[in-house]
Amino acid sequence: MSEMREPIESGVPDPFPLMHPTLKANYGNWSWHDRPRPGVLHHVAHSGDEVWTVRAGTPRQLDTFAIRELCDIGDKFADGHVRFTTRSNIEYMVSDETKVAPLIEALEAATYPVGGTGNSVSTISHTQGWLHCDIPGTDASGVVKSLMDELMHEFKNEEMPNRVRLTTSCCQINCGGQGDIAINIQHTKPPLINHDLVANTCERPSVVARCPVAAIRPALVNGKPSLEVDEKKCMCCGACYPPCPPMQINDPEYTKLAVFVGGKHSNARSKPTFHKLVAAGIPNNAPRWPEAAEVVKTILRVYKEDARDWERVGEWIERVGWPRFFELTNLPFTKYHIDDWRGARGSFNASTHVRM
């Protein structure tokens, strides 16, 4: 075997050699922007330089054919430079306005939808799922593909009261992050333990320590050291599963989807917020998840009809109130919506402000 190669510990790559020349030339010196049409941004620098950005959706998991196809479009129309947004949209920059229309045409011809700007529903930020994760309850790529098929119009147009950021997550760790609407896994049964494997696979004290409700304790089962779960205490979060795979939390029937709304990271108008649970018990119905799509579409439809300009989903609900949200969406309000975790009292209505 040849001698091992020492890594070059170069860290974060320098973006300047890769950056579009107009962006590089005007770094830190931009003046204003507008959006000539959905999917296109137009930025003007103090120098007078202008750049048009065309944004297109991608499936995030890209094969080399797709990447080369996107590169071909970049070479032909966009000076050989691209960038990606945090939501896996690709962006092409051109300093010549006449290149915008042919660029859009080329992207759409290659089936990459142009949109995701301004008050649209942008690409859903998502996680790995069955394709690659070791603990997934569902397949984010499939959920995203199914939903975006249905939300194509909202991606390609800017018809929402404000921007809408969707996320999905394949377990309750919620790697997909906060969103105006988040479609997340919600387990409904405690883990099924394979006691034959626990002793050799799991570091038992650290699994015990991982449980948020102290429901796990060491036990001898069939003469073997294992773990047991107090099923009355367990709230089925799945936190024990990553450090101890024999504590299988995923179940084809009892692993469900839940929908949360009202997360927002921008500080615009109101402070940033976390998303809140509005629907659960939605079947994990591969390959198209129609029940989840129905809930998301309903919320989006009501938001679009009822919210005022610039209200994000959470701000709209804050104004109209939760009773009206459940009424307008026709989603059931249940005891599970009332928080019982630490700090829950902060979510109670400690006032006589009630909506009739």
Binding site: M4, I8, G28, G57, I67, V82, W130, K145, P252
Partner: protein
């Protein structure tokens, strides 16, 4: 004989519809017999279909890495390798993206060449921490794949209890609202602390994220242990000619309802001559009016950052939002950036020494109190750190006079500084 793709009726459903399909991409990789990844991707499709049928995942972790580093490779071994032998090992290399995620096509093509030689041909742009995820590699090919990526200027990202790969928004490169040099801050901090990424030795993960303004396009406040978010200290810049043009365009009613009434601190008024007035002492720098009237309004000239600490999702104690530890730090000079770096170093040191195993820094602070963290890293307290003072009386205030004296001494220092 050419290996056949199994039937994948469920995945095939995901080739329908207008949104570009990842399944079509997977099939292209499986059908390209000229590439070494064809058979691997055939079995990968088979296993994925099996997951769709059974609604279960079939990957388990393990230990795979590259020489010299202790992390960054996500090992994946199939639990159903008997049925899908060619994808029995399907590891991911997490590779750090350029700050701001800028690429030229030559670089992306080079990545494709490397990955179809050593890996599956499947690349995720990008993962939720910002990594370029080279997904699907056999154990023996992990080292040569990394070597080639590394020789081409790319380095391993973070995984496990370590400093994680970071993200910065487009910022200075194309955004007029950007309030600091995100590329500089991002590369300076991560590259200085890179040892913590490559040799995991922290109690748990630690994430930095860099957003150029309070719109926070990389979602730093929710997701980053330390969120560096651009802001300004002086007045919003107003171009009154552009204000007039805006009013002519949208009308006063729309201005009142959509700009003025959305100001969270009622800081905006419209004068009788249609000029706009902002009470900057009430402004909380939320960005709304600037977002809506970006030609007429811009952030102030005295720019820098607000720093929030402790953001994370549920595990273990519940969601935590990052909260202010530095209301404003000016970022202009080399010394300013040096000060930011020192704070990052001190905070990671504090985390390494004080957090319990598997505890994020927000949870540590929840456990020991914000003041103990501030004391440890030498930060002054500030009323901007709280939404409101405590409502309970459960505190021993026997040091009140000294603390009050400190406050007035600081105010005097600030007054002297301002006068100079």
């Amino acid at each position: 004989m050419t290996k056949k793709i199994r039937d994948t009726p469920m995945l095939d459903e995901l080739e329908n519809g207008p949104w570009p399909s990842f399944v079509t991409g997977l099939k292209r990789l499986a059908n390209d017999e000229s590439k070494p990844h064809a058979d691997m991707m055939k079995d990968l499709l088979g296993q994925l279909e099996h997951s769709y049928e059974t609604r279960k995942g079939f990957w388990k972790g393990g230990t795979v890495g590259v020489y010299g580093y202790g992390g960054g490779v996500i090992p994946r071994f199939s639990e159903v390798a008997e049925d899908y032998p060619d994808s029995k090992e399907f590891h991911t290399l997490r590779i750090q993206p350029p700050a701001g995620m800028h690429y030229d096509t030559a670089t992306l093509r080079k990545m494709c060449d490397i990955w179809e030689k050593h890996g599956s041909g499947l690349i995720a742009l990008h993962g939720q921490s910002g990594d370029i995820m080279f997904q699907g590699c056999s154990t023996e090919n992990v080292q040569p794949a990394f070597d080639e990526l590394n020789e081409n200027g790319f380095d391993m990202g973070g995984a496990g209890p370590a400093l994680r790969t970071s993200m910065s928004c487009v910022g200075h490169a194309r955004c007029e609202q950007s309030c600091y040099d995100e590329v500089r801050a991002h590369r300076m901090i991560i590259n200085d602390l890179i040892d913590e990424m490559h040799r995991p030795a922290l109690p748990y993960k630690f994430k930095f994220k860099f957003s150029g303004c309070p719109n926070d396009c990389v979602n730093a406040i929710h997701r980053a242990d330390m969120a560096v978010i651009g802001t300004w200290a002086d007045e919003i810049q107003i171009d009154q000619d552009e204000v007039k043009l805006y009013l002519e365009d949208v009308g006063r009613k729309y201005f009142t309802e959509s700009v003025q009434m959305n100001c969270p601190t009622n800081a905006i008024s419209l004068n009788d001559d249609d000029t706009m007035e902002i009470d900057d002492s009430s402004c909380v720098r939320c960005m709304h009016c600037i977002n809506v009237m970006n030609k007429a309004l811009s952030p102030g000239k005295d720019k820098g950052v607000t720093i929030c600490l402790g953001g994370k999702r549920s595990l273990k104690i519940g969601d935590l939002m990052g909260s202010v530890i530095i209301p404003f730090m000016r970022l202009n000079t080399d010394e300013d950036y040096e000060r930011l770096l020192t704070l990052a170093q001190d905070t990671v040191d504090f985390f390494a020494e004080n957090a319990l195993e598997h505890e994020r820094i927000g949870e540590t602070i929840d456990r020991i109190g914000l003041v103990n963290y501030l004391d440890a890293v030498g930060l002054d307290i500030d009323p901007n750190m709280i939404a409101h003072p405590r409502t309970n009386s459960y505190v021993k205030t026997d040091g009140w006079d000294e603390e009050a004296a400190k406050w007035f001494a600081r105010k005097d220092d600030q007054a002297t500084e301002a006068a100079e």
